[in-house]
Symmetry: C2
Subunit: 343 residues, 2 copies
Amino acid sequence: MADVAERAGVSASTVSRTLRGLSTVSPEVRSRVEQAARELNFAVSRQAASLVTGKTGVVAVLAPTLNSWFIGSALSTLGPELRAAGMDLLVYLTPEMSARADFFERLPARRNADALLVFSFDLTDEETARLDDLQMPVIYVSQHSDGCPSVYVDDVAGARRGTQHLLNLGHRRIAFVQTIGASGFSFSSNERLIGYQQALTGAGIPLDDELVVATVVSDKRRITEAVGELLSLREPPTAIFAEQDELAASVIWTLRKGRIDVPERISVLGFDDHPLAEWSDLSTIAQSPSDIGRAAGELARSLINEPDADPARHIVLPTRLIPRGSTVPLRGDGEETAGNGAG
Amino acid sequence: MADVAERAGVSASTVSRTLRGLSTVSPEVRSRVEQAARELNFAVSRQAASLVTGKTGVVAVLAPTLNSWFIGSALSTLGPELRAAGMDLLVYLTPEMSARADFFERLPARRNADALLVFSFDLTDEETARLDDLQMPVIYVSQHSDGCPSVYVDDVAGARRGTQHLLNLGHRRIAFVQTIGASGFSFSSNERLIGYQQALTGAGIPLDDELVVATVVSDKRRITEAVGELLSLREPPTAIFAEQDELAASVIWTLRKGRIDVPERISVLGFDDHPLAEWSDLSTIAQSPSDIGRAAGELARSLINEPDADPARHIVLPTRLIPRGSTVPLRGDGEETAGNGAG
DNA sequence: GTGAAAGCGCTAACAA
DNA sequence: TTGTTAGCGCTTTCAC
């Protein structure tokens, strides 16, 4: 920076002011400094600047993996969003338990970021406590955390809406397939189950535990088994609501393999609007990871820059039904537009 | 750090030495310092340290998006790899041209990272020149760059092997479907086409331009059209080699929609071993983004820590054939094990 | 094996 | 509007 100052014939302070875009620099000096900086190919060192400002200009993200549609999409929006505000995106990945333990032990983000975004974890109380030690805003994405800022979609309402869609189509025996925890990775499953139950109850349909089965998304064998359990009920479902699109796609595949036509014999509804859903012509409840990423970025920025911002602000994003070909009226006796289809 | 020093009854220098694991600290003092640091929940500030060491402890990645199987998988391995070496992963995302232009204009990574990993771009010469301005190692991933370190798979050999597989199955009319540039996003397509051509030529089969069609991966209409072109040839292909699994899956879907059985009437081969491939029972040429990420991480570390390391080291990773259900012998007259199938 | 002192590159407060 | 000065928190000589 001294070089630039010398070349432009000004002091280091003036260079600093110019490069930070402060208005207290005369146009003439400004252009001289800018040119000198360009010629010298100079860029301010964040490290040095942060030493005195106390801000790192970095937002950190803690995620189990980047290999996920949701996280990938959210970060792909978040990154440019932050960049536009002059901030960088730092990623901490904890695909394994050991990496995760190490993260919480050392908290490497400490002092090296201005805020931390926590993606999709089932955190233990102990881990949450550790995050409180971090002297920075911690924002939870896709999960609630009392007293902490967070961003998530209204899973309950979404699942309620999805179930209602099936009810409107005349379905009464509606199964719910939930995912079970792939090692500490939360997918808001309970909320979705609750929404499903609320809709049924609201329609005066008693809950039937036999209609709720659980499986690991990637376990085809278990999925086959779960679908088998549903089909072998005395009164099998005419519609299946899967907690995630990927699971829904597996369910459809399993059903068709068993010569059960979808949607003719069984309607299937997913959740997420994963690219797979459009591809498979799967009706689904859409959430937008992109919007979530954007909202998380804005929240982070406001928490960093406005000390008096609400420290526990929740942003709840909506979901919306996308009817496609995998859900149809039950034997033609119901229609989405026919009210709540109770008759 | 002064606090820790005071609490442990030593000087700041000693705390620094202890926390960096230097051996010139007596065991007794060491344990006292470590305990003090723990009690104070102290962590060294990278910013301050890097100011004097000149190293940031950060590896930056430039990628178009995180919403990609390849990039997501590679980074999911790279991140923990770096973390284990005490380094952080910074991500620059340029989904749009404007963000990309901005990155190359400002080069925000400059002075804020120890190395830059460039993922999957078709860079212009001008952009490459800008990266040379960056006073740090720049590593190209999934692409060659003369005189620069890089990590990639041998696409030519992989495509040759894939084509040979189809030849071995008795196919002679083998089409190649290539992808055309989704805005600056390179998928090594030319190399794969070359491998395909090499294998045909090696088997004494003349190249037929009509058997090579191009399409955008996400453009279903164009894919349908391209498949139509192939099917309407006087002598249609009996096998189709798609440059990517996602494209191969689309091709299969299109063929089946047109009542053309796969693999009975036409064999289809993909490239990548995307999760979709296993799911669709698609034969493919596998590459491992995870291995690529690991190799890139190691290369970055060696370039950062060993000033006399070969500054233009190339790491070429292998591919391997994964035969699944989408490729079968031509009318039963050939087999993979029957030599090169030339007869 | 340990401490004192200098200084990394920048920004902020103050003076001019 | 601009320059001067004093650190930010750490590492690194260089003494001891």
